[in-house]
């Protein structure tokens, strides 16, 4: 099984070095070109010199319905799956999560709360209108207050943007309410930050259609059925995209996706590890895999007025060291997973190294775990209810954790819940332990912010948790705009969190996508989106 997709960047793209040259050093200093600088572990093969063929149509099987394709306030991952080809943002990530210019030619830090952006000239929307700073102003205002059918719940993901000041047709200043290093990652992630033409919501039904600057123009979204795209010939990347059209077909059932792949009715889809592996010998198909932002973790609550055994740091550490992650990787994921800290491996330079996790912070050490339990006065253990999702790998990983914790006399009762019920209980903090998963974030801050008392959820989940060293790091990291200086701050904060864990990270899983042989240049995006499809061409 191998990643056979040919890599390489599309024509007209500007590499990171060029961007660095373009981003001038002004005021407090230039923001380095990347919020996620460094090379992710995802697909790092050299591009293969295969001539790109143009034209053709691809059909991609989506796992779930997006509900709508509105540009702002889409809460479901599927919302972005459906709309991601219609829109661009000011900057973008490449496949290794390096930030590159997109609609913005450059940006300059004027001071800690002002960033001046210069847009590329001649960028066209799908309706022919030229992109201007007024469009960005309109878009940012909707990011800050998404109209229906979007949800204002996504506002929590938006950094501290105050307003957009239009300077000229192509120049604007982004004013921040306070210094906030999440800005660049927020735009590069694109999920909540597409740029749309001014007045879009008055022009079309945004739930069913889109007008953006993306490589494909949306023809329409049929709920619970499909999304249709055609090539946008006037895309700002000259000669891009390569295919004539694209259909995203919603196929919720995995076996239906497999059958459609075998029959050639679709060209690719995301599949579970076991199912994808079963197709490895099919001569018409290529199995792709890659690291993914999703990782699994064990959450605990430490609430006021309660006196649970895990309120003691020693017990939480004992749990951490009694969990054998290598065993989980082998038994649950057939070897296709990695150790994960609070920031998942593959997320640029931010996560702790695998070696550090294996040998120190997440070392499987039963004698140490037993000693910690004894020191905490819980040598005889205790009972606890652990809630999890009743789907995917969650029941299985819960069962393995349950069996492992028996070694330190912790009797774990597993309660598997439907996603809505689980979300309700998790959001309200009505649980003792939750075995849950995390996803992609625009900035490293998104992975650790909840451990800081300023996060609303802190007071719901663990108001009695104290970790001043980690808090200092998280607070300083958010206002430090220089990525080079941020990296050690966040690594130190993660180490402090591992020394006194209130959420115990477990493993990061790999994502599998299967494509037909004719699909070239596809890759599994770390972000959990299908960004690779933007660059795909068909060997017809």
């Amino acid at each position: 099984m191998s990643d056979e997709s040919s890599g390489g960047s599309a024509g007209g793209e500007i590499d990171r070095r060029e961007l660095l040259k373009k981003a001038g050093a002004v005021g407090a200093g230039a923001v380095a070109a990347s919020a996620l600088t460094g090379t992710a572990k995802a697909a790092t093969k050299r591009p293969r010199a295969t001539p790109i063929k143009r034209g053709g149509r691809i059909v991609w099987g989506l796992e779930s319905d997006p509900a709508h394709v509105a540009p702002f306030g889409g809460i479901l991952t599927a919302n972005h799956w459906a709309k991601e080809f219609a829109y661009d943002s000011l900057v973008e990530w490449d496949r290794n999560l390096n930030v590159r210019p997109a609609l913005a030619e450059k940006y300059e830090i004027l001071n800690k709360t002002q960033i001046r952006w210069t847009l590329k000239k001649g960028v066209r929307f799908h309706n022919g209108k030229e992109l201007t700073a007024a469009d960005v102003k309109y878009s940012v205002e909707r990011m800050l207050n998404p109209p229906l059918p979007g949800s204002i719940s996504t506002v929590a993901q938006v950094p501290a943007i105050d307003r957009v000041q239009v300077v000229s047709k192509y120049v604007f200043i982004l004013h921040l309410k306070q210094p906030d290093a999440r800005v660049i990652g927020f735009f590069a992630w694109q999920r909540y930050a597409p740029i749309v033409p001014e007045g879009l919501y008055d022009q079309i039904n945004v739930a069913r259609n889109a007008i953006g600057t993306g490589p494909y123009r949306m023809l329409g979204y049929e709920p619970n059925d499909r999304v249709e795209y055609v090539k946008f010939a006037r895309h700002w990347k000259t000669g891009f995209p390569y295919m004539d059209s694209m259909q995203l077909k919603i196929l919720g059932d995995e076996q239906a996706r497999v059958a459609a792949l075998r029959a050639g009715a679709i060209d690719g889809a995301t599949l579970s590890v076991e199912v994808a592996r079963s197709l490895a010998n099919n001569r018409d198909l290529t199995v792709l895999k890659g690291p993914n932002a999703a990782f699994r973790e064990l959450q605990m609550t430490i609430k006021r007025g309660e006196d649970k055994p895990w309120h003691k740091k020693a017990v939480r550490l004992a749990v951490n060291h009694a969990i054998n992650r290598a065993d989980i990787i082998r038994r649950v994921y057939s070897g296709e997973a990695e150790y994960s800290g609070h920031v998942p491996p593959g997320y640029g330079p931010w996560p702790l190294s695998d070696k550090e996790l294996r040998e120190k912070y997440e070392k499987f050490d039963l004698p140490l775990a037993r000693k910690l339990m004894r020191d905490a006065g819980h040598a005889r253990g205790f009972s606890v209810t652990m809630t999890t999702f009743a789907l995917q790998d969650y029941p299985l990983i819960s069962a393995v954790v349950q069996s492992q914790l028996k070694a330190i006399n912790i009797d774990v009762q597993i309660v598997a819940q439907e996603a809505g019920t689980f979300a309700a209980n998790n959001g309200r903090g009505t649980f003792d332990w939750d075995l849950t998963g995390r996803g992609m974030r625009g900035d490293v801050d998104g992975y650790v912010a909840e451990f800081h008392p300023a996060a609303p959820v802190f007071n719901i989940w663990y108001p009695e948790y104290r970790n001043p060293k980690a808090w200092r790091g998280i607070g300083n990291g958010r206002i430090q705009l220089d990525p080079a200086k941020r990296v050690p701050i966040y690594k130190a904060a993660q180490r402090e969190l591992m020394l006194d864990p209130v959420q115990v990270p477990l493993v990061a899983i790999k994502k599998y996508q299967v494509v037909r042989k004719r699909v070239k240049n596809m890759y599994v995006a770390f972000s959990d989106f299908n960004t690779g499809l933007r660059n795909v061409w068909l060997d017809r």
Binding site: P149, I152, A207, P223, G427, R438, E450
Partner: protein
């Protein structure tokens, strides 16, 4: 007949009101509302933002207030808007119902066309190889889960013939042949259970009717065997079968959820399932009410059909 029909419709109204209240309360008794779903996994949202979202979706009033707003809209034909995509629920329901109705009608047709003759054959050729085959087939039909059969059919056709039904919904008015090729496998999967029930019911009632005096009399008068079976026996044997088919409409609509998911058909079951996962109250309420209405309407039709098949029933 008219007063009988009106009486039945009058009985249906309180049933629907009770069902509407039940549905309204039940979806709200589910742990977690759409706000929890929307904010699930978001650790940074404050209570103020959540309250704002609640107001945005019209979920800030009391249950009584929300019910009144909903039901007063329903009687005027306004089912409200989806909480997930702000689409008018009536549009969502209409689109989905078209797909499901076609699926259910096709499934019922297959079940009846295959089930009734098989039942008759089994009864007429009692204790022969035909009878044994039909009975075993019936047992298999009852035992095989439709989702398993659907998956199997899909994987089989994809492996053996490199073919799966068209993925994108095709209206029967646009292309009847393509539409049929899209619906035949799902309809077959969902019809097998009903087919087995119909076959067994027809066999049992036919055996009973064939032993009746009037059948013997007809034979004694020299009426041909085919005529006795088709005109005298089958018509009377169909009364309980019609009842079963009426009930099966509800079962088929319910069972369609999984089948529609497997075949990627955007029907009522699939849409309802998505709405439940997303706690999209207006869609859940409208869809469930519609299913209840269909069930009641189908049973009303069955009652009226009794009258046609046996005029003594409506006179009573």
């Amino acid at each position: 007949m008219v007063s009988y029909t009106l009486r039945r419709i009058a009985f249906a109204i309180p049933t629907l009101i009770i069902v509407s209240i039940g549905i309204f309360l039940l979806v709200r008794l589910l742990p977690g509302d759409i706000i929890d779903i929307l904010f699930g996994g978001d650790q940074t949202a404050s209570e103020e933002v959540k309250q704002q979202a609640r107001e945005q979706l019209g979920l800030d009033g009391s249950y009584a207030e929300q019910y009144w707003n909903w039901i007063s809209g329903v009687v005027q034909g306004d089912f409200g808007f989806s909480l997930r995509n702000a689409e008018p629920v009536s549009n969502i329901v209409f689109d989905a119902m078209t797909v499901t109705l076609e699926l259910v009608i096709l499934a019922l047709l297959i079940a009846t066309i295959v089930g009734v003759p098989l039942g008759v054959l089994s009864a007429v050729k009692r204790d022969t190889g035909w009878d044994l085959g039909a009975r075993v087939g019936g047992l298999v039909g009852l035992s095989v889960p439709s989702f398993w059969l659907a998956t199997l059919l899909l994987l089989f056709t994809s492996r053996a013939f490199g073919w799966v039904p068209p993925l994108v919904y095709i209206s029967p008015f646009d292309d009847p042949v393509a539409n049929l090729s899209q619906f035949i496998l799902p309809a077959l999967s969902i019809s097998v259970f009903t087919m087995a029930i119909v076959m067994r019911m027809v066999r049992a009632t036919m055996l009973e009717v064939l032993g009746q005096d009037y059948v013997r009399t007809a034979r004694a008068k020299g009426v041909g065997r085919k005529t006795v079976v088709s005109k005298h026996a089958l018509r009377n044997a169909l009364i309980p079968v019609v009842t079963i088919i009426g009930f099966e409409i509800g079962v088929l609509i319910g069972g369609a959820a999984i089948i529609e998911t497997i075949f990627g058909l955007p029907g009522v079951g699939y849409v309802l399932l998505q709405a439940i996962f997303g706690r999209d109250y207006p869609v859940i309420q409208a869809m469930t009410l519609l299913i209840a209405f269909t069930f009641i309407f189908a049973n009303l039709l069955v009652d009226l059909l009794y009258g046609v098949l046996d005029p003594r029933i409506s006179q009573e």
